[in-house]
């Protein structure tokens, strides 16, 4: 899974968010290591919508304090599945890595 997708899904898994909110959340999540630049961020959001992993909220569903033209996104079950699969894959890799580093006995 592409890195931006992973982090966006990860961020949305914690609740509905809008663009720059996601960007900041991802920065915090990654300890400042991942910075989603605007074109990547919004482009990826479109791709995720296209895949049916997330969806855009209708205006009526948005939080009351949302500014008029802000687009909120919500993770869909498909997205959770994909995220879970990715996390599992990463865990597997991590396990292998730990083993090779000798931190964990088989």
């Amino acid at each position: 899974m592409r890195k931006p997708w992973f982090y966006i899904l990860l961020s949305l898994a914690g609740g509905d968010r809008y663009g720059s909110d996601i960007q900041e959340d991802v920065r915090t999540l990654s300890d400042g290591g991942v910075r989603l630049w605007p074109a990547t961020l919004y482009g990826s959001l479109e791709e995720l919508v296209e895949r049916g992993w997330i969806r855009e909220l209708e205006e009526a569903e948005q939080p009351d304090n949302a500014a008029g033209r802000t687009r909120y996104y919500r993770i869909l079950p498909g997205g959770r599945e994909a995220l879970a699969a990715e996390v599992e894959r990463r865990e597997a890799v991590t396990r292998v890595a730990r083993r090779r580093l000798g931190e964990e006995r088989p």
Partner: protein
Amino acid sequence: MRAPVARRLYRLALRLLPDPIRRKHGDAMEALFVRQLEVASRRGTAARVAATARGLWDVLARAGYERTRWRRVASPGPSSDVANPIGTSRPTQREPLMASLFHDIRSAARTLLRSPRFTLLAVLTLALGIGANVALFSVVYGVVLRPLPFPEPERVSHLAWDRGGSVPRVTMPAYKVQYWTDHSRAFEAITTWRASTLRVGEEDRSEPVGALRVTHEFLDVVGWSPALGRAFEPGDDRPGAPDVAVLGHDLWRTRYAADPGIVGRTVQVQGTPHSVIGVLPEAFEFPQDADFTDLLVPLRLEPDPLNEGENWAVLARLAPGVDRTAAEADLARVYEAFRTEHPELMNGTDRAMVLASWQSLYLGGTRTVLWALMGATALVLLIACANVGALLLARGSARKGELAVRTALGAGRGRIVRQLLAESLLLAAGAALAGLALAHVWVDALLGLYPGTLPRAGGVGLNGAVMAYAVLAAVATGVVFGMVAAVPVLRGAVASSLRESTRGGTGRGGLRRAVLAVEAAVSMVLLVGAGLLVATLAEVRSVDPGFAVDGVLAAPLPVPPGGWESEGGMRQVDERVRRELAALPGVTAVASASTWPLRRGLNIPVGIQGRPEDFEGAVEWRSASPGYLEALDVPLLRGRGFTEADGAGAPPVALVNEAFAARYFPDGNVLGQRIEIGRYRDRYIDPVLDVGGVEVVGVVGDVREIGLKVEPRRTVIVPAPQVADSWASPPVVLVRHRGDGVRAVMRDVLAGVAGGAAPVEVRSMREVVGASLASERFNALLMGVFALVALVLTAFGIYGVVSYGVRQRTREIGIRMALGADRGRVARQVLGQGMAPVMAGLLVGTGGALLMTRFIESLLWGVEPGDPLTIGAVAVVLATVAAVATWLPMREATGIDPNRSLRPE
């Protein structure tokens, strides 16, 4: 990089994204980018620039990705069930082409990143050229090309007199203004105006503001309506009409707190109540007198046929549907009527009334300077292109294996040329981005260095036109050097190169030599231009001004805080200050005068008593105290200077300069003659002095009063105490001194007079002379900088091409040396390889310089455009630089070891 630039660039880059995504998210992306930029700015400029670059790269990369993704989605296949990802209709025709373009760009980017040193060098070289060129364009656009800030600016025009010179005469007597206003039919409105400083507000709280006195049609001509209230009406400028005023937006906001109820209220202007009828809009601009738009008051033009003072500029708006030809025909008709009606008011010089642009009247030499500099930067850019073209050629040879393989695998010639073009365009685009940043630095430097004030400099900046120009420059640049690199491919050289690769030469030497010749020729033109401007500076600097430049200090006499009368009058203050200064140690002479040399003084008509017909225009007129000649070290040639006895009641006397004496008294019999100062033909129009005539008591040396480049004018000097009170103006104090330290003491003495109420500025005549050279210095400096950049680029170009040639022929040279060729011959050959095209270029460049320097002829002084000395010197410099640039690779060539070079690849 300033915020607006980064933002504009970003907005521009966003256009690369597919329409639907840009429409949907463009604003949000921009907002987020700006926020990230702000965060980065906290860590300094470098971080900010880096963030800008990163953000732009993000968009570019994404654009490439999106375009190719779309193609994938568009192509029918199992995954095309998600046919319309963003919910908008998708253009089907264009996308594949765009996608393949992006493919080209991506692969070009990969290629370029594989050789970062080459890429960096090419981008920097081009950025240097593009940056300077775009900077100059933005100045030329802002100052010269930009339309006037009036609605339908093409209908607004000055009316001016064609007198056969290159620039029409802007101003005319009030009587003629009125006549043309009354009789012409081609115009919707005609106006004239005068800029002046007026005091606004109650006596003790009044402040000086820049005001325009205007005739009532003024706002109709410029095409602006007040933001509040009404414009002037026909009655407002008639004598006896109630006093009214229109406030400028700034004044309204600062002084009247943007009071919306200001219309109808009364304000004091010069102590007289004026009722406010309107407020100008914020965007109002009047470039003719840009600093005088705080207040508009009606102008009561007095069309007295006897007043021939050419004091009024005329601005008119063409009636709808009237073109310039029809308007000029109408002006000619009025001219005929005027000629018949007032033959006595005709003068010999006016040929016709014409429409003239603001630019032609107000910019004068500035236009020439700016265009010349812009031309120079275009030439620098051309050299940069040639250099990068040569680099690409060399690289093309190195890559010929790769290209040949690609051809063999079936890539068409067009495909390869496209690939090469994509690389050059990408290089040019990178260079344009870097160039825009450089352009900002350049523009700031240019505006900072510009002597005096550049009209409309406030409008110089990165606007749409400049961006468009930058894009155009980048594309043109990319195509130019891209084609240089593509020529061998078009010629089919690549296809044969598989066979060739084991041999020496490539058949591209001709092209490379041509590049060298072009660079040398273009550098020659630039260096000759710069050389001529430097020579001009030197010539002007070496002029004898006719007065002492060193050891003379000058300062205006400051007004005491309580006004002149509080200290017993201006003349008393003047005398007291002179006495104080004369007593200082180190001071050898003190005087006061109406002005110091090289500063604008007054002129006045002067007649010779008994010779009413002998008149030849106004002469320079100065008033001075005793000691004037000593203070400035102007030689007294005959007769005497002023003494304390030449006071207010004494018989009026005058000094004249040599030029005056030679013109009116060629027999040398000057002393004792009487001249009538202020007499114009048969009447006194400026009664400065006693009307009975003034006795000439001395002849003094000529002084360059107007400027170092201007021949000394006929000049008359009169004793200050004898000048009528109405003509007396606050004098300047001149001090001649030995040694240092006088300047500070002099400032203290004057500061004592000013009492903190007025600023005191003491300057040396050396500084005054220096300031008068500001234009020449600016021209020489900028042209010199561009020429130097060109020279350095050319040197690198020659070095690059020749050393590349040597490396290419290592094998051949090795064989020849192995066969016994001596080093000298090899050296001569390599030298010839570089120098022959340079020499040809110098020849062509000399011709080019002779042609091009005519355009800067008006900027030259004391040196001819085709000055053989300058051309010769430049040729020698260029040849020397070229020789050094060739010598380095030559040394390399003669050091080739046959053993190593012949080893198989």
